[in-house]
C-alpha cells in the first residue's frame, strides 16, 4: 500500500507517470476480468445446453454403413454359394465358414488366412444341408446333413499372447459334442433346422421331406465325472404342406413352420399338436427367421417386404392362450428378400434382397434404419459379430466385403419415445418405461410418455392445491392486510420457499401418506366443511354485529381465522367417521377399492399435490403479491372514490392491472413443479403408469433421472435417453421462464408509465 493515489503522499518526479501507468494497467485488467466473468454466465448456460445436446444428439444421428471390399478371394471360398455356416467373432477379426462337404475353416480377417481346419465325419455321398448357431451362444452349432442326421458342434477361439506388432496366434478348440456319430432324425435329407441350447435343455427342430421332427433333450450332469448326457425324446408330425423355414420359440413352448404360400403354422411342444396358423396373404414367403429373444418371427416376402409376427396373449387373464398376430411391416426392399440376419444382442436385423439391396432394421422401433446397396455379386452368406458393428458378406464368387456399421441407438426414434409401441409379450401397443430387468433376453423399453404424463399429473395436482391458496392469499396480503401484519406475514410465507424439499418429501411420504390413508374420508370432509364453516363464521361475524365492535380487526382477519380454522379442521376429522359410515356404509378407502373398483396407493397424487403445492405456494404467492402490491394505489383509490366497494375495486381495477405479473408467477410456479425431484421421489411409489387417477402415484422425468442415472452406463442408449429427459426439462423450464420474465419486464415498463 505505498503511495495511494488519493492519499496525498508526495512522489518523486517520474514516479507519478509510472504509477499512473500501473493504475491504468490494473484498471484494464480488472475490466477484462469482469467482462469475462459476465460473459461466463451466458457461457455457463450455453455450456449446459450444449453439453446436454452433445450427449443427446447421437440418438437422432443417422446411422452409417461403409462397404469395404476386402479384395481377397480366399482359397476356402470355392463353391461360395454352397456355404452352410458363416460367422464372425466378437472382435471382428476371426471368422468361420462351413462348406457343403462338412469342412470348417477358421480364418482371420481381413486377409482370410486359415488358422485352423476341422472336418465332420460325414459318410460317403453325405453332404451338409444346413447349419444353425444357438441363440444364446454362437459357439454352439447344429449341422444337418443329407443323411438325416444332426451333428452338435462347439468351437471356441483362443487368442494367445503375442509379441508386440505381431498377430496373436489363435488356437481353435473344436469338439463334436454328445458323441461323434450325430443324432439321427430321419431317413430323408434334412431341408432346414432350428436349434436352441439353453442352460439345462436342448432343442432341435428339423424339416425333412415334409415332416417336422423335434428333439427335446434334458441335460443331465454326471456328478462323478462331470460329463453331460442328454435324455431326449423325439416328436414327429407329418405336415401336409411344403415347409419353408422352421423357428423354435425361445421359451420352448411351440415351433412355427412357414409354408411357401406364406402361411405360418404353429405346433405345441412337446407333442406337436397343431395350434393355430396365420396367413398374411402376401404371396410367396422367401425367408423366415426368429429374432433375438426367441419371441418374434420375421418373414421376408417375394415382393421385398418384411413382416414381424409374434404370439399375443388374449385379453382374458385366466385363459392365457396365445395367438399368432401380425405386428408390423417394414419398409420394403427392391426385390425378393433372400437373407434375414438378426443381431444377437438387440432386436435389430439385416435383410438382403435378390438384387443386392441391404436394409438395416430395428424391429421394436418398427423402422428401417438404413438402406444401401451391397457391392459385388449376389450374396452367398452374411454374418454379424455379436456386437453388430460390422457385417461380413461372402458373395457367390467367393469375394469378401466388410460393411462397417455405425448404428449405436437403432431402438430410439421419435415414435418409440413418444408414441405407443407394441412390445413383445404385450397384448397391445402401449407406453412403457422399463429400462432394466433381471433376465438377459430383456428388451429395454424407453417410452418417455408415461414419465411426461406423470410429470404433468404431479404438477397439475400441485397447481390445483397451490394456485387457489397462493392467489387468494396474495390478493389479501397485497390489498386488504394491515401493513403491520403484512410485514410479518410476507417473510413468513417466503420462508416456506426456503424449506428444503427433502423435508417436505420426507414428511409427505412418512407422515402425510399414512395419515391420509387412515383418514381419507377426513380429507374430503376437510375440503367441504372447512370452507363452508369459515363462510358461516364470517357471516355470523358480520350479522351479529361483532364486526362493528371489533372494527380494529379489519386487516387482521387471518389471525382471527387461525383458531377457527383449527377448530373446524378438528370437527371435520371427527365427523369424517360417521359421515363415511352414513354415505358408503364403512371405510371410504375399502369402498373405493371394493365397490368403485378404484385402486388406492398409499403414496398417490393427492399426497404429491399437497406436498409439492406446499413448496410452490410461496413462489406464486411472492411474485403475485409483488405484482398486486405494485399496482399504484391511485388506481384503486380512484375507483373507491367513485363508489366501488373494496371487492369491486379489486376485481375490476387491481386484478386486471396486475394480471401479467400473476400469470408470470403461475408460470414460474409451474416450472418449479415440473422440475421438482425429491418430493415426487419420496411421496410417490415411482411407478411409471399412464393414468390421471388421484389415488395412484406416478413417476416424473426428474425422479426418473434421480433413480436411474447412477446405474446407467456411460454413452449407452439408456444414458442418452436420461440426458434427453434432462434436456426436455431444461427446455421446458427455459421456455416457461423466458415467457414469464418477458411478461414481467413488460409489466414493469407499464407501471413506470403510470
Amino acid at each position: 500500500m505505498n503511495a495511494h493515489p488519493l492519499s496525498g503522499v508526495s512522489l518523486k518526479p517520474g514516479d507519478s507517470d509510472r504509477l499512473r501507468a500501473r493504475r491504468q494497467r490494473r484498471d484494464r485488467i480488472a475490466h477484462r476480468v469482469i467482462m469475462l466473468g459476465g460473459l461466463s454466465v451466458v457461457a455457463a448456460m450455453l455450456l449446459i445446453l450444449g453439453y446436454l445436446l452433445w450427449v443427446v444428439l447421437p440418438l437422432a444421428g443417422a446411422p452409417e454403413a461403409q462397404a469395404e471390399r476386402l479384395g481377397v478371394k480366399p482359397a476356402w471360398s470355392e463353391e461360395a454359394g454352397e456355404t452352410r455356416l458363416f460367422a464372425v467373432d466378437e472382435r471382428g477379426d476371426l471368422g468361420l465358414r462351413l462348406a457343403r462337404d462338412g469342412s470348417f475353416r477358421f480364418f482371420r480377417l481381413p486377409g482370410g488366412e486359415v488358422v485352423a481346419e476341422e472336418r465332420l465325419p460325414l459318410g460317403p455321398e453325405e453332404t451338409v444341408r444346413r447349419a444353425r448357431a444357438a441363440d444364446a451362444d454362437p459357439g454352439r452349432v447344429a449341422v444337418a446333413t443329407s443323411a438325416g442326421r444332426v451333428f452338435l458342434v462347439s468351437y471356441d477361439f483362443d487368442r494367445q499372447p503375442a509379441a508386440p506388432g505381431a498377430l496373436p496366434p489363435v488356437a481353435v478348440a473344436f469338439t463334436v459334442a454328445y458323441g461323434g456319430e450325430g443324432r439321427f432324425f430321419s431317413r430323408r435329407a434334412i431341408d432346414d433346422l432350428d436349434y436352441d441350447d439353453a442352460q439345462d435343455r436342448l432343442l432341435i427342430a428339423v424339416l425333412a421331406g415334409g415332416e417336422l421332427v423335434v428333439e427335446q433333450a434334458e441335460k443331465r450332469t454326471d456328478f462323478l465325472t462331470g460329463e453331460v448326457r442328454l435324455e431326449s425324446g423325439l416328436a414327429r408330425r407329418n405336415l401336409g404342406f411344403t415347409p419353408r423355414g422352421v423357428v423354435l420359440d425361445g421359451n420352448h413352448r411351440w415351433v412355427t413352420v412357414g409354408d411357401a404360400t406364406g402361411r405360418l403354422h404353429r405346433f405345441v411342444l412337446p407333442g406337436l399338436e397343431p395350434l393355430d396358423g396365420l396367413d398374411l396373404e402376401r404371396g410367396e414367403l422367401t425367408a423366415l427367421q426368429g429374432l433375438a429373444g426367441g419371441v418374434s418371427l420375421l418373414v421376408g416376402w417375394a415382393d421385398g417386404s418384411i413382416s414381424q409376427v409374434f404370439p399375443v396373449r388374449d385379453d382374458d387373464p385366466a385363459g392365457g392362450t396365445y395367438t399368432l398376430q401380425h405386428i408390423r411391416d417394414f419398409d420394403a426392399l427392391d426385390a425378393p428378400v433372400t437373407h434375414l440376419l438378426p443381431e444377437s444382442r438387440r432386436r435389430g436385423f439385416a435383410a438382403v434382397s435378390e438384387r443386392g439391396a441391404l436394409g438395416l432394421y430395428h424391429s421394436t422401433a418398427g423402422r428401417q434404419v438404413l438402406e444401401t446397396t451391397l457391392p459385388g455379386s449376389a450374396t452367398a452368406a452374411l454374418a454379424f459379430p455379436p456386437r453388430a458393428d460390422q457385417l461380413l458378406q461372402l458373395d457367390v464368387t467367393g469375394e469378401l466385403t466388410r460393411i462397417r456399421i455405425d448404428n449405436p441407438h437403432p431402438e430410439v426414434s421419435f415414435s418409440t419415445l413418444w408414441r405407443a409401441v407394441w412390445y413383445e409379450n404385450y397384448p397391445a401397443p402401449g407406453y412403457t418405461w422399463q429400462s432394466t430387468a433381471a433376465n438377459d433376453d430383456f428388451e429395454p423399453k424407453f417410452s418417455l410418455t408415461p414419465l411426461a404424463l406423470g410429470t404433468f399429473k404431479a404438477s397439475l395436482y400441485a397447481m390445483l392445491f397451490a394456485v387457489p391458496v397462493a392467489l387468494l392469499g396474495a390478493t389479501y396480503t397485497a390489498v386488504f392486510m394491515a401493513p403491520a401484519l403484512r410485514r410479518k406475514v410476507k417473510p413468513a410465507i417466503e420462508l416456506m420457499a426456503a424449506l428444503p424439499t427433502v423435508i417436505l418429501g420426507f414428511l409427505a411420504g412418512l407422515w402425510l401418506a399414512p395419515f391420509i390413508e387412515e383418514n381419507l374420508a377426513g380429507l374430503f370432509s376437510l375440503m367441504l366443511l372447512v370452507p363452508a364453516g369459515l363462510l358461516a363464521f364470517a357471516y355470523l361475524w358480520h350479522a351479529s354485529g361483532l364486526k362493528q365492535r371489533f372494527s380494529g380487526l379489519r386487516g387482521w382477519e387471518p389471525l382471527l381465522l387461525i383458531p377457527v380454522m383449527i377448530g373446524l379442521a378438528v370437527l371435520a376429522l371427527w365427523l369424517a367417521g360417521p359421515l363415511q359410515q352414513a354415505l358408503v356404509g364403512g371405510d371410504l378407502r375399502e369402498w373405493l377399492s371394493q365397490e368403485a373398483g378404484i385402486s388406492y396407493d398409499q403414496r398417490n397424487a393427492i399426497i404429491v399435490g399437497i406436498a409439492m403445492g406446499f413448496s410452490i405456494i410461496p413462489i406464486i404467492f411472492s411474485i403475485a403479491e409483488d405484482a398486486l402490491y405494485a399496482v399504484p394505489t391511485t388506481l384503486s383509490d380512484g375507483s373507491l372514490a367513485l363508489g366501488a366497494t373494496r371487492w369491486q375495486s379489486l376485481i375490476r381495477i387491481v386484478l386486471p392491472t396486475a394480471s401479467p405479473g400473476i400469470f408470470s408467477g403461475l408460470m414460474i410456479g409451474l416450472g418449479r413443479a415440473v422440475g421438482e425431484t425429491m418430493i415426487v421421489l419420496m411421496a410417490t411409489g415411482n411407478t411409471p403408469i399412464m393414468g390421471w387417477s388421484a389415488f395412484e402415484g406416478m413417476r416424473t422425468l426428474a425422479a426418473n433421472i434421480a433413480i436411474e442415472m447412477p446405474e446407467s452406463s456411460v454413452a449407452s442408449t439408456h444414458f442418452r435417453v436420461l440426458f434427453l429427459s434432462a434436456l426436455v426439462l431444461f427446455v421446458f423450464t427455459f421456455v416457461v421462464n423466458t415467457v414469464a420474465e418477458v411478461i414481467r419486464q413488460r409489466l414493469r415498463e407499464r407501471y413506470a408509465s403510470l
Binding site: 480488472a30 453439453y51 426456503a498 373494496r646 423466458t738
Partner: protein, 561 residues
C-alpha cells in the same frame, strides 16, 4: 336488519375477502404446523421417557410381562384390527386404543417394537430399577440389572451394582475412545499413506524404460518408508489387541422383563440409565447429553442409531467450498451487468439467462455435473494426473469437489441477483464523486462500490448457502453417499480430500427415511435430522433477511438525496 341479509352480503364480495384471509391463515397454519411437527417429533426422541412394566393378557395367548418405552399411541377401528387377524371379544366395537411399545432386546425378542392393545393391559407399573442400556449392536436393552462380572467372576449383586456400573462404564468409555482413535484416525492414516506409496511405485514402474530393472534410490526409499509404516501399523495393531482384551473384561448380567438372564459384555455398552429413578435435573442433563451425542457422533447400525456428525460435517464443508467458488463468480458477473456493461439487448439477454439458470430444475444441474464435470473433466484429470490409480477413478467419480462445483453453478443466479440489487441501491453520486477525485473505475469499484454493496453480496451468499444446504437431488448424482468411510478433511496430506465422497444431511434424511432396514427405529432420528436441517436453513434465511433490511435502512438516506 338490512345488513344481515345474506344475499346482500354475498353480493358485496365480502365472503371472497374472508376466503382470501383464510388462504393466508391456511398458509400460516401449514408453515407453523410443519415446524411444530418436525420439532416435537425430532426433539422428543432424546427425552429419557419412562420404562413401563405391563402385564399383558391378550385373548388366546398366555399372559406375559413386558417392559418398554411407549413409542406412540393411537386409536384404530376394531373392524380393521379384526381384519388384521387380531382377536377381540365380540362386544368390542368402534375405536380401540393401542400402543407401540419399544421393548428393545432385539437379540432376545427378534424385534424392537410391538403393538399392545390398551384393553389387554392388566397391570401397569414403572419400576424404579428399570434399566435402559444403549448398545453398539442389537439396539437398546430394556430390563433390570442383576450383577456385574469381572473376567468371568461375579463382583457385584443385588442393588449395589448400579453405582459400580457407572464407574466401570466410565472406564470402558475411555478405552473405547482410545480404540476409536487408533482405528479411525491412526490406522486409517497409515493405510492411506501405504496406498499412496503403492500408487507412487506404480508410477515409478510406468516411467521406467523397457528392460530397466526395478531398483535404484527411489525404490529403496519407497521400501524404507513402507517398512516404517508397516512397523507403525503392527505396533498399533498390538496396542489395539491389548485394548480389546481390556474392554472385554467386564460384563453385565441383565434380566429381561420375563425374567430371562442375559449377559452383555460391557464392551458393547455405550450408556445406561434408569429413567424411572431420574429426577428432573438428571433428565434434562441426560437429554442434553443425548442431543450432543446426536450432533457429535457418527451413525451406527446402518444409520438407524447414533449421530449424524459426518453428515453435518460434509454438508458444512461442501457449502463452504461452494461459497468459495460461487462468491467471486457471482459478484464479478453482477458487477459486469451493473457497472461495466452498456445497458441494452445484451444485458437483457444476460439477465434472462440468469433468470433461466435460476429456474432450471436442480436435477438437470446434477445431470450436467455428472456428465460434464465428472465424466468429461474428471475423466480427463484422471488420465493426466492420476493414471497410476486407473482403472479406479480418482476425480472421474462423484466427490466433494464436483458436488460443490455443481451446487456453485446452481446457486450462481442467487448471488448475482442479490449482488445486483445491492449495487443498484448505491446512488450514482457516490460513483461520480469517486471518479471526480481521479480514481480509476477499478479503484472506485474496489474501494467504494464493493464495500457499500457488501451487505447485498452477503445476503446473496447466505441465500446461496441456505439453498445448497437443503439441495439433495443433484448431489445424489455427483458424490453423496449413505456412509462415507472417512471424512474429507483429515491429518493426511493434502488434508482436504476433494476427491472423496461425503455424507449430507438432506441425503441422510432421504436414505434413512426411505432406504433403511429398520424404519420404525430410524424414524425419530430422521425427524431430528430434519429439524437440524430446517434450523440451519431457517437461521441462514433469517440472517439474510436481517442483513437485507439493514442494507435498506442504511441507504435510505442516500437514496433520498
Amino acid at each position: 336488519m338490512r345488513r344481515s341479509d345474506p344475499r346482500q352480503w354475498f353480493a358485496s364480495g365480502a365472503p371472497w375477502i374472508w376466503l382470501q384471509a383464510a388462504a393466508v391463515s391456511l398458509s400460516l397454519v401449514m408453515v407453523l404446523g410443519l415446524l411444530l411437527l418436525v420439532a416435537t417429533r425430532g426433539l422428543a426422541h432424546f427425552w429419557p421417557s419412562p420404562v413401563e412394566e405391563w402385564l399383558v393378557d391378550a385373548p388366546g395367548e398366555a399372559p406375559r410381562v413386558l417392559m418398554g418405552q411407549v413409542h406412540r399411541s393411537e386409536w384404530v377401528s376394531a373392524e380393521r384390527l379384526r381384519e388384521a387377524g387380531i382377536e377381540l371379544p365380540d362386544d368390542v366395537g368402534g375405536e380401540v386404543r393401542r400402543h407401540l411399545l419399544k421393548i428393545g432386546n432385539r437379540d432376545v425378542a427378534g424385534q424392537d417394537f410391538t403393538w399392545i392393545l390398551d384393553r389387554n393391559i392388566r397391570d401397569r407399573s414403572r419400576p424404579l430399577n428399570a434399566l435402559v442400556v444403549e448398545r453398539t449392536q442389537w439396539g437398546r436393552f430394556i430390563g433390570r440389572l442383576v450383577g456385574i462380572r469381572e473376567a468371568g467372576r461375579l463382583v457385584s449383586l443385588g442393588n449395589e451394582p448400579w453405582p459400580e456400573l457407572q464407574e466401570r462404564l466410565d472406564r470402558v468409555t475411555d478405552l473405547r475412545q482410545r480404540i476409536d482413535e487408533i482405528e479411525r484416525r491412526e490406522m486409517t492414516s497409515v493405510n492411506y499413506r501405504l496406498e499412496r506409496l503403492r500408487l507412487e511405485e506404480i508410477g515409478l514402474n510406468r516411467s521406467r524404460a523397457p528392460g530397466e530393472v526395478a531398483g535404484g534410490p527411489a525404490f529403496d526409499r519407497l521400501a524404507e518408508e513402507r517398512a516404517v509404516l508397516q512397523r507403525r501399523f503392527d505396533a498399533l495393531a498390538g496396542e489395539l489387541a491389548v485394548l480389546f482384551q481390556e474392554i472385554r473384561r467386564d460384563s453385565l448380567l441383565l434380566a429381561t422383563a420375563a425374567g430371562d438372564e442375559v449377559e452383555v459384555s460391557l464392551a458393547v455398552v455405550l450408556d445406561a440409565w434408569r429413567p424411572n429413578a431420574m429426577d428432573r435435573r438428571q433428565r434434562f442433563s441426560h437429554y442434553g447429553e443425548q442431543l450432543w451425542a446426536f450432533v457429535s457422533e457418527p451413525p451406527r447400525e446402518a444409520n438407524t442409531a447414533g449421530g449424524i456428525y459426518p453428515a453435518l460435517f460434509g454438508t458444512v464443508l461442501m457449502v463452504i467450498l461452494m461459497s468459495v467458488f460461487v462468491t467471486p463468480l457471482g459478484v464479478i458477473a453482477a458487477v459486469y451487468l451493473r457497472e461495466y456493461a452498456t445497458q441494452g439487448w445484451f444485458t437483457r439477454f444476460v439477465r434472462i439467462s440468469v433468470n433461466n439458470l435460476a429456474g432450471v430444475p436442480s436435477i438437470v444441474y446434477g445431470v450436467f455435473g455428472l456428465g460434464f464435470f465428472i465424466y468429461v473433466v474428471g475423466g480427463g484429470i484422471d488420465q493426466l494426473f492420476f493414471s497410476e490409480a486407473l482403472p479406479a477413478p480418482t476425480f472421474g467419480t462423484g466427490g466433494l469437489f464436483w458436488a460443490s462445483l455443481t451446487l456453485a453453478l446452481l446457486t450462481l443466479p442467487v448471488v448475482i441477483v442479490s449482488t445486483e440489487e445491492g449495487l443498484t441501491r448505491i446512488p450514482r453520486s457516490v460513483r461520480e464523486g469517486s471518479m471526480a477525485l481521479g480514481a480509476t473505475r477499478w479503484e472506485t469499484l474496489w474501494r467504494t462500490i464493493l464495500p457499500m454493496a457488501s451487505p447485498g453480496i452477503m445476503t446473496g451468499v447466505i441465500l446461496a448457502v441456505a439453498r445448497a444446504a437443503g439441495e439433495v437431488a443433484p448431489l445424489m448424482l455427483v458424490g453423496v453417499v449413505k456412509l462415507a468411510p472417512s471424512l474429507p478433511l483429515d491429518g493426511d496430506f493434502p488434508y482436504l480430500h476433494l476427491d472423496r465422497k461425503f455424507m449430507h444431511l438432506g441425503f441422510h434424511i432421504y436414505d434413512v427415511g426411505f432406504q433403511s432396514p429398520n424404519v420404525e427405529a430410524a424414524r425419530p432420528l430422521v425427524y431430528a435430522t430434519a429439524l437440524l436441517l430446517v434450523l440451519i436453513t431457517l437461521v441462514l434465511n433469517l440472517a439474510a433477511i436481517a442483513i437485507r433490511n439493514r442494507l435498506r435502512e442504511r441507504y435510505r438516506d442516500l437514496e433520498a438525496q
